[in-house]
């Protein structure tokens, strides 16, 4: 290399990729030998460009990004290929070189704001040590400036606080401040907002976009959400089982996906579904029947008369929690405030809202797990607060829950047969043989092989576990199922399958769903009616079409706008 080559002009720099990943292979040492996590990964990021890697959990997207900053877990290693940063291969660079690069040249914004700040150090210190380690001025004013730039209000005072005094959104801002504090040329953002509410998510992503644009930082965005990726990135790279299956400019890839996996991903991306259902309805597509029977006239799947009957009436429901504030004093916190709505038999009603809006508290009261402070819950004409123990037992048989976490809601010591059979045994239904027959039927209904009976929860995937949870809920032939964030923890494709299953079961068994979720995209796919909750109050209610097409309240509009990908227009034939 001659000296002439070394001097690179600005124009040259813009033409040369900042980061180029070639033929990358990463393997992990496990108890049963080496496992290939990533194979033949290709990726190019130009200076100032935003590139998104999209894929489900386990697709290798995070692993690829971590390799670029030299942070693979101890049992992982780059087993082939190159990671070129400005032409320098850093895939096997010594730790000393990586320490030089980290912070200064490559920054990172990690996924979970709750666990990525050290709880024992003040926020200011955690920013300060970043600045200091990278040889930048690190006085209190510099720290405050960095935090203020990331959109943290009152930064000087906030810097003196500890992470536990911050909300999730503020912590993520602090992490963004840390990631960008030394003005790196490349920022790796690993699911930077997946742990946050949609509206907060939007603010944070907007701010990140503005900041990186100002600084000219290139961004490698890791996400499971195709809509979000398409909206935020110039280019999208789709990874599936450790391989890059497709890459290209965002819109092009969305509109014309080539690989079957990308096609499935586009088809079931919940964030794009609001368009999809619209289109499907207009075209009168048959698959529409898989979705919940709603207010719009369509094929007579459900017996009409039952649909007019209110199976559940919530009247002026209120729940006040006493918060202890020391010395025996307590302050009142109104979690649910004067909420009224009714649910018609055989339909799906969704309660949406951000965390802390009181939606789960409503669900718990409907399930009779929590006593309302005032107000009534009328189930099938009977006020549930008047029930005695025996009647509550009977009530529980007719109203069943499905909870969010398919990992936490199944007993790990019970095999699947015992899990599904348990409610039958508790309610003394049938003998051993008939119960076993019933369990087999239920497994058929949720499309799980009967051999699953002998397995344990930890042997199943998240989607399979949620199917087990559904089968268990169905065991007692309930009339109403309360789904508390039942699909939030699942990958998009699995989520779509579970939603389809729920819709199918509804049309077959005439079930009524009360769906608690923070995800409006899911609501669009499954609900007939929507109740929007904000700070304990019901702020808007109506049919799904009404709420989505003509939201009345600013809060609802903000929620709808915050759905990633909502702004993207897709041609109907894609959807």
């Amino acid at each position: 290399m001659t000296t002439a080559d070394v001097r690179i002009s600005e124009a040259d720099l813009a033409d040369k990729p900042l980061l180029e990943i070639r033929d990358l292979a990463i393997s992990f040492k496990t108890g049963s030998g080496e496992v290939q996590a990533v194979r033949n990964a290709h990726l190019t990021i130009m200076p100032g460009e935003t590139v998104a890697i999209v894929g489900e959990s386990g697709s290798g997207k995070s692993t690829t990004a971590l390799a670029a900053i030299g942070l693979l877990p101890a049992n992982g290693r780059v087993s082939g290929g190159q990671i070129l940063l400005d032409g320098e291969d850093i895939s096997h660079a010594p730790e000393k070189r990586m320490i030089e690069l980290r912070g200064n040249t490559i920054g990172m914004v990690p996924q979970d704001p709750m666990s990525n700040l050290n709880p024992v150090w003040k926020i200011g210190y955690q920013v300060k040590e970043t600045l200091r380690a990278n040889g930048r001025p690190s006085g209190p004013a510099d720290v405050a400036k960095v935090l203020a730039q990331a959109g943290l209000p009152d930064a000087e005072r906030r810097a003196k606080q500890y992470p536990h005094e911050f909300s999730g959104g503020m912590r993520q801002r602090a992490l963004i401040a840390i990631g960008l504090s030394c003005q790196p040329r490349l920022l790796i953002a690993d699911e930077p907002t997946s742990a946050l509410d949609v509206t907060v998510q939007r603010q944070i992503l907007d701010h990140l976009e503005t900041m990186t644009a100002e600084l000219g930082t290139a961004v490698l965005l890791i996400t499971h959400d195709l809509g979000l990726a398409a909206e935020r990135a110039d280019k999208v790279v789709v990874m599936y089982r450790g391989q890059v299956v497709e890459a290209g400019p965002s819109l092009e890839l969305l509109q014309n996906p080539q690989h079957p996996y990308t096609q499935r991903l586009v088809a079931s991306a919940p964030s794009l579904a609001s368009r999809r259902i619209q289109v499907a309805k207009e075209l009168g597509v048959e698959s529409d029947e898989l979705l919940a029977p709603g207010t719009t006239p369509r094929g007579a799947v459900v017996v009409e008369p039952t649909m007019t009957e209110d199976v559940l009436q919530i009247q002026n429901l209120k729940k006040v929690f006493k918060l202890r504030s020391g010395f025996g004093k307590s302050t009142d916190f109104t979690a649910v405030d004067d909420v009224s709505f009714s649910v018609k038999r055989g339909t799906t009603t969704a309660i949406v809202g951000e965390s802390g809006s009181g939606k789960s508290t409503v669900a718990q009261m409907v399930l009779n797990l929590l006593q309302p402070t005032s107000g009534k819950i009328v189930f099938d004409g009977v006020d549930t607060s008047t029930l005695n123990n025996k009647e509550i037992f009977a009530f529980r048989r007719r109203v069943q829950p499905i909870f969010q976490d398919p990992y936490g809601s199944l007993d790990p010591m019970y095999n699947i047969f015992r899990t599904i059979e348990e409610p039958l045994r508790t309610h003394k239904i049938g003998d051993k043989a008939s119960r076993e027959k019933k369990v087999r039927e239920l497994l058929d209904q949720v499309a799980l092989p009967q051999s699953t009976m002998q397995r344990y929860p930890n042997e199943l995937s998240g989607g399979q576990r949620q199917r087990v949870a559904i089968a268990r809920a169905l065991a007692l032939d309930p009339e109403v199922i309360i789904c508390d964030e039942a699909v939030s923890a699942l990958d998009v494709l699995v989520q779509a399958q579970v939603l389809n299953l729920l819709a199918e079961l509804q049309s077959r068994l005439g079930l009524t769903y009360l769906f608690i979720t923070h995800d409006l995209a899911v609501v669009r796919q499954i609900a007939d009616h929507v109740c929007v909750m904000e700070k304990g109050k019901l702020v808007e209610t109506g049919s799904t079409d009404e709420v989505f097409d003509a939201p009345q309240r600013d809060y609802t509009k903000a929620l709808l706008n915050a759905i990633p990908g909502a702004r993207l227009m897709l041609p109907p034939e894609v959807a």
Partner: protein
């Protein structure tokens, strides 16, 4: 915070009364007559015995004895023991020695336990880790008296690196051998606790983030792994301080350390109520204050723990 400390200090009062009462009662209930036992095979005349009983208030019922003890305590008059020496003076002699011994042992077990535990944790599964784990298990398995005699013989007598016995003039230097023996047992636990805690924290998300910020490895280890790993270790150290102070009977006997352990043992043998209770009272104070210090250290180590109201 100050309110919290005051409240904790006030809690000492009921704890103090409760423990002394219990100990006093147990000594009172011991079988045998302490005065007769004092004279062994040649009993004195009944008049002498009666006079001694009166002198030590042994002819009074339990509640009166305990009340007199409390009264004396609050007037800073601990009385005399059965050999006629003032108890306060002998406490003044033995406690400094024991405190020195305990602190020295505490330093040894903390410094070596935390250092070795940290290195073992960071090198989990490597040779150093495996060696240290086995060695610590061996240390835990050997009883104190074996360890004590072996080290005394080996280092004290044969190699002559340290004084094999302490005797009357205890100082930091000649207490090194008993302090090592005393510290070795807890050292193994401190090491294992530190190691486990480090391994847990090493994989925390914030440690990865700290590395991603560009911090050097030593900085990550000290500021983000070590500090977060100290909480369980501090708990154990606080609890072990009490044990070091009061339970060093075996070690003190082997190395002839004129400390609390030996004195307490003798007093129990002689059913010397006032001496036993006086020593135990001081130990109770040490326990309570050590635990308060541990709780305050917690709050310093982990700001999520706050003591208000």
């Amino acid at each position: 915070m100050i309110q919290y400390i005051l409240r904790r200090l006030l809690q000492i009062i009921p704890v103090f009364i409760g423990t002394t009462l219990l100990v006093y009662f147990m000594v009172f209930a011991l079988p045998g007559d302490p005065i007769r036992a004092l004279f062994g095979d040649r009993p004195p005349s009944e008049a002498v015995i009666a006079q001694l009983r009166q002198q030590y208030n042994l002819d009074q019922p339990f509640w009166v004895q305990y009340g007199l003890f409390l009264k004396n305590l609050f007037t800073f008059n601990l009385g005399v023991d059965f050999t006629g020496q003032p108890i306060a003076a002998s406490l003044g002699r033995i406690f400094p020695v024991t405190v020195m011994l305990a602190v020295e042992a505490l330093i040894i077990q903390t410094v070596f336990g935390v250092t070795f535990g940290l290195i073992a944790g960071l090198r989990k599964g490597k040779i150093f880790d495996a060696t240290v784990l086995v060695a610590s298990l061996v240390v835990i398995a050997i009883p104190t008296f074996v360890l004590g005699f072996v080290l005394q013989l080996l280092i004290g007598v044969q190699l002559g690196w340290a004084k094999p016995t302490v005797g009357a003039n205890a100082d930091w230097g000649n207490l090194i051998l008993p302090a090592t023996v005393l510290g070795l047992v807890s050292f193994a636990y401190v090491l294992r606790l530190t190691r486990a805690s480090v391994i847990e924290n090493m994989n925390a998300d914030y440690v990865r983030t700290a590395t991603a910020k560009g911090l050097s490895r030593p900085r990550v280890v000290v500021t983000h792994i070590l500090r977060n790993s100290m909480i369980p270790v501090i708990t154990y150290l606080g609890a072990s301080l009490g044990g070091l102070m009061g339970g060093a009977i075996v070690t003190e006997s082997i190395f002839n350390v004129p400390g609390v352990g030996q004195k307490l043992f003798q007093a129990v043998i002689r059913s010397e109520g006032p001496t036993v209770v006086a020593i135990v009272s001081v130990l109770v104070l040490v326990f309570v204050i050590a635990n308060l210090l541990v709780d305050l250290l917690y709050a310093w180590l982990d700001p999520r723990i706050r003591y208000e109201n």
